[in-house]
C-alpha cells in the first residue's frame, strides 16, 4: 500500500524559446522575477523533488500561477521538463519514445480535467469509450465496459445524452468514468472539482473517496482549495511560485506549517472539520486493569488524576471517577467492576472529525475516551486540548514566528480571495 510508485527528482521547467541556455541562471538561485526580467523566460517549476505512494491520494496544492497544473502535466509528459527525472514504477518517463509514450498514456495514466475536456459531438457513452477505442478495444466490449463505469459513477441511463445536456457535476462524472474506464492505475486530476459549485463539489469528493476505497488507484489531485486537499489527501504537497514549500501529511500541514506562506494558507481552515480526534487526543498510559472496586480504587489513589479508564483484555470497558469509586467502596469493596459503576460517558471514534464530537467533549467534566472499532482504548480527548487546537493562534505559537511581516498579510489576502472565488 505504501510503496513509492512515482518519483520526481530535481524537476525544473523554464518556459520560453531557449530554456536550456538560461538554466545556469536558475541554478544560481535567481528568483522567478529576476529571471523573467533578465531573459524573458518564465520559471515554471524549480527543483521539485516528490514521491507519490501507491494507493494514496496525493494532493498538490497551490494558488494560481504556483505551477501545480504545470507539475501534473509532467507526469504524463504533456509538458516536457527542462531538467529532471520522472520515474513511474521505476521507468523514466523522459526516456520513452513517442510510440512508447502513447502506450504509456493509454494504459498507465488517465486524466480528469478542470473543464471536463469532453467531446461535445459525442454521446456520453462514446465519450467514456474514448480512451478504450484509442487503446484499440473493440467497440462492443468498450461499450459494455463504459456502461458499467457509468453505472459506478451514478450516470446509468444517460448513455445517449450529449455532454451539453448534462449539468457540470454530471459532465465531470462522465470525465471520471472516462478516466476510470481505461483501467490505468494512476489517475491525474487537474482541479477536477474546482469548476463545480460547492454542494456538487463535496458530493463529488465523497464519491471519489468511496470509489478510492474500492479501487485503490494512485491518485494525484491538484487543487487550490485547502479544505478539499485536507479532505481528500493522504499527503499534501504545497507549491509556491514553482517551488515545493511543504510536503507532508494533512494534519502536519495544519499543525506545523513549514513557512509563513503555508501558515497564511492554513489560518482560515475550519480545523474542527479538517482534523480528526486521532490527531488531537492524548495517549493515555494510565489505565485501571483491576477487576474489583477495591483493586480499582487502589490503582486510582496511586495516580494523580481523579478519573481513569477501565481496560481489560476484552478492550475498553468504561470510565471510573475516584469520587464515585469511594462511594462504591463504602457499599461493597469486593464487588466486581461492572456497568453500574462506570460514569455515563460515551466513547468517541478516533477517525471522527472534531466537529462531530465537539458538543459531548465540551459538555463532559472529564476527558472523553477514544475507542476504535475493535473496542481498543486509544486515548482520551480533553476539553482543554480541544479548545487549544481550535483557538486561532495555536499554530503560530508552535511555529514560533511573532510579529506579522508585511508579506504575510498580503499572502493571507491572496489565500482567502482564491478560496472565495
Amino acid at each position: 500500500m505504501s510503496d513509492t510508485l512515482i518519483e520526481v527528482k530535481g524537476l525544473y521547467k523554464l518556459f520560453g524559446p531557449e530554456p536550456k541556455v538560461h538554466m545556469p541562471l536558475v541554478h544560481e538561485g535567481l528568483s522567478k522575477d529576476e529571471i523573467l526580467a533578465r531573459t524573458g523566460h518564465t520559471l515554471g517549476l524549480k527543483d521539485i523533488n516528490l514521491t507519490i505512494k501507491e494507493g494514496d491520494i496525493s494532493v498538490i496544492m497551490g494558488l494560481s500561477g504556483s505551477g501545480k497544473s504545470t507539475l501534473i502535466r509532467h507526469f504524463n509528459r504533456l509538458i516536457e521538463p527542462t531538467e529532471g527525472q520522472i520515474l513511474v514504477g521505476g521507468i523514466d518517463v523522459m526516456t520513452l519514445s513517442a510510440k512508447e509514450l502513447e502506450e504509456f498514456r493509454r494504459h498507465r495514466m488517465s486524466m480528469v480535467f478542470q473543464r471536463f475536456g469532453l467531446l461535445p459531438h459525442r454521446t456520453v457513452l462514446d465519450n467514456v469509450t474514448f480512451g478504450l477505442t484509442i487503446q484499440g478495444v473493440r467497440k462492443k466490449e468498450a461499450n459494455d465496459r463504459a456502461v458499467e463505469w457509468l453505472e459506478t459513477v451514478g450516470l446509468a441511463g444517460y448513455e445517449n445524452q450529449y455532454p451539453a445536456q448534462l449539468s457540470g457535476g454530471q459532465q465531470q462524472r462522465v470525465g471520471l468514468a472516462r478516466a476510470l474506464a481505461t483501467n490505468a492505475d494512476i489517475l491525474l486530476m487537474d482541479e477536477a472539482f474546482s469548476a463545480l459549485d460547492p454542494l456538487i463539489r463535496s458530493e463529488m469528493q465523497d464519491q471519489l473517496i468511496e470509489l478510492q476505497d474500492k479501487l485503490q488507484k494512485t491518485i494525484i489531485f491538484i487543487t487550490h482549495d485547502l479544505d478539499e486537499a485536507l479532505r481528500l489527501g493522504n499527503n499534501i504537497a504545497i507549491l509556491k511560485d514553482g517551488e515545493l514549500v511543504q510536503d507532508d501529511k494533512p494534519e502536519e500541514i495544519l499543525l506545523n506549517p513549514a513557512t509563513d506562506y503555508v501558515e497564511a494558507f492554513v489560518r482560515d481552515v475550519n480545523r474542527a472539520r479538517a482534523l480528526t480526534v486521532e490527531t488531537v487526543m492524548q495517549p493515555q498510559g494510565f489505565r485501571i486493569t483491576a477487576t474489583t472496586i477495591e483493586g480499582a480504587l487502589k490503582q486510582m489513589r496511586a495516580h494523580k488524576d481523579d478519573y481513569a479508564f477501565h481496560v481489560t483484555e476484552d478492550g475498553y470497558q468504561g470510565m471510573l471517577s475516584q469520587e464515585s469509586l469511594e462511594e462504591y467502596y463504602q457499599e461493597d469493596k469486593t464487588a466486581a467492576l461492572s456497568e453500574v459503576h462506570y460514569e455515563d460517558l460515551e466513547p468517541i471514534a478516533p477517525d471522527a472529525a472534531l466537529e462531530a464530537v465537539l458538543p459531548e467533549t465540551l459538555a463532559s467534566d472529564y476527558p472523553v475516551p477514544v475507542v476504535n472499532e475493535e473496542g481498543d482504548f486509544m486515548g482520551s480527548l480533553s476539553r482543554d486540548a480541544l479548545a487549544e487546537i481550535l483557538s486561532p493562534d495555536s499554530s503560530s505559537s508552535e511555529g514560533g514566528n511573532d510579529g506579522a511581516k508585511p508579506e504575510e498579510a498580503d499572502e493571507e489576502n491572496k489565500a482567502s480571495t482564491t478560496r472565495h472565488s
Binding site: 493509454r106 480535467f113 475536456g117 459531438h121 451539453a164
Partner: protein, 297 residues
C-alpha cells in the same frame, strides 16, 4: 538638377524595358503552354469526363426525377417541410420559364467545383493549422486569389487550356476555394485546447486527434467555409461563361452584350434561386448536425 519634372511626373520604367518584360513573360508562358499544355490537359481529362457525364446525367434525366431527388436531399439535410416546398416551387418556376437545361448545367458545374474545392481545401486548411510556417506561406497566396480580379487569371488559364469547361472549372475553384481553406484553418486552431489535451493525455496519436477531435470540433467553421465557397462559385459562374462554360451565365452574358433586360433578370433570378437553395440547405444541415455542440462547457 534643374529639371524638376521627376517630381510632377512619376519616374517610370522606360517603355522599351516594359515591353521587354512583357514580351519575355508572355513568351515564356506561351512556350510553357505549348510544351506542357497537352500534358496538363491530359491530367485534367478524368475531371472533364466526370463533369461531362454529370452534366449529361442532370440534363437527360426526366425533370420530375431530378426534382424528386433534389427534394429528397433537401428534406434529408434540413428536415424542414417549408424549405422543401420552397425549393420545389422555385425549381418548377425555373423550368417553366425555360431555363431548366441551363440551370442543370450550372448545377453540375457548381457541384463539381464545390466538391473539388472541399477535397483540396480541407487538407490545405489542416496543413495551415498544423504548421505556422505553411500558414505564413499560404495566407498571401489566398489574399491574391481573393483580390485578384477574376478576369486576370482567366487569361493564363485560357492560354494554357483553351476555352471550355476545364479552364472554367479551374478559375471557379481558384476564386471559390479560399473560404474553405481559411475557415478550416481557423476552425482547427480554435478547437478547445483542453479537449485536445484530453485526447493527448489518453494516448491519442496525431491522426486520432485529427479525426476524433480537431475536425469534428472545427466542423461549424468548416461548414461555414463550404457555404461561402458555394456562394462564391455561383457568383463566378457568370464570369466563367465568358470562357465557354455553359449554363445560366451565358444568357446573362448575352443580355449584357445585347441589352436584353428581361432575359438577364430571369437568368439572374435563377442563379439567385440556386444560391438560396444551396445556402439554406447547407446551413440547415450544419445547424442540425451541430445542435449538440452548443454550450458544452
Amino acid at each position: 538638377m534643374a529639371d524638376a519634372s521627376w517630381l510632377t511626373k512619376f519616374p517610370q520604367l522606360d517603355r522599351l524595358d516594359l515591353l521587354a518584360i512583357r514580351k519575355t513573360l508572355d513568351g515564356a508562358y506561351k512556350a510553357f503552354s505549348r510544351e506542357y499544355g497537352d500534358v496538363i490537359e491530359g491530367f485534367f481529362h478524368p475531371v472533364l469526363s466526370f463533369l461531362v457525364w454529370f452534366e449529361k446525367l442532370l440534363i437527360t434525366t426526366p425533370w420530375p426525377i431530378i426534382i424528386l431527388v433534389i427534394g429528397a436531399i433537401v428534406f434529408y439535410a434540413s428536415r424542414s417541410w417549408k424549405l422543401l416546398v420552397g425549393v420545389v416551387i422555385s425549381l418548377l418556376l425555373v423550368g417553366y420559364f425555360g431555363m431548366w437545361e441551363d440551370t442543370m448545367s450550372t448545377l453540375s458545374m457548381i457541384t463539381v467545383c464545390t466538391l473539388i474545392s472541399i477535397l483540396l481545401g480541407i487538407p490545405v486548411g489542416i496543413g495551415m493549422a498544423r504548421s505556422d510556417r505553411f500558414q505564413k506561406i499560404m495566407t498571401p497566396i489566398l489574399d491574391v486569389m481573393q483580390t485578384m480580379p477574376a478576369f486576370v487569371y482567366l487569361i493564363p488559364v485560357v492560354m494554357l487550356l483553351g476555352i471550355g469547361k476545364i479552364p472554367g472549372l479551374i478559375s471557379v475553384v481558384i476564386y471559390a476555394i479560399p473560404p474553405v481553406i481559411r475557415l478550416t484553418n481557423l476552425g482547427i486552431r480554435l478547437v478547445d485546447k483542453e479537449v485536445l489535451e484530453a485526447a493527448t493525455a489518453f494516448g491519442a496519436n496525431g491522426w486520432q486527434r485529427l479525426f476524433n477531435v480537431q475536425i469534428p470540433l472545427a466542423m461549424p467553421n468548416i461548414m461555414a467555409g463550404i457555404n461561402q465557397t458555394i456562394m462564391m462559385a455561383l457568383a463566378m459562374v457568370v464570369v466563367a461563361s465568358m470562357i465557354g462554360v455553359k449554363g445560366l451565365g451565358q444568357p446573362v452574358l448575352k443580355s449584357i452584350q445585347n441589352q436584353y433586360f428581361t432575359l438577364g433578370l430571369f437568368n439572374g433570378l435563377a442563379i439567385v434561386a440556386l444560391a438560396i437553395i444551396f445556402d439554406r440547405v447547407s446551413q440547415a444541415y450544419a445547424k442540425r448536425s451541430q445542435k449538440h455542440m452548443k454550450g458544452a462547457h
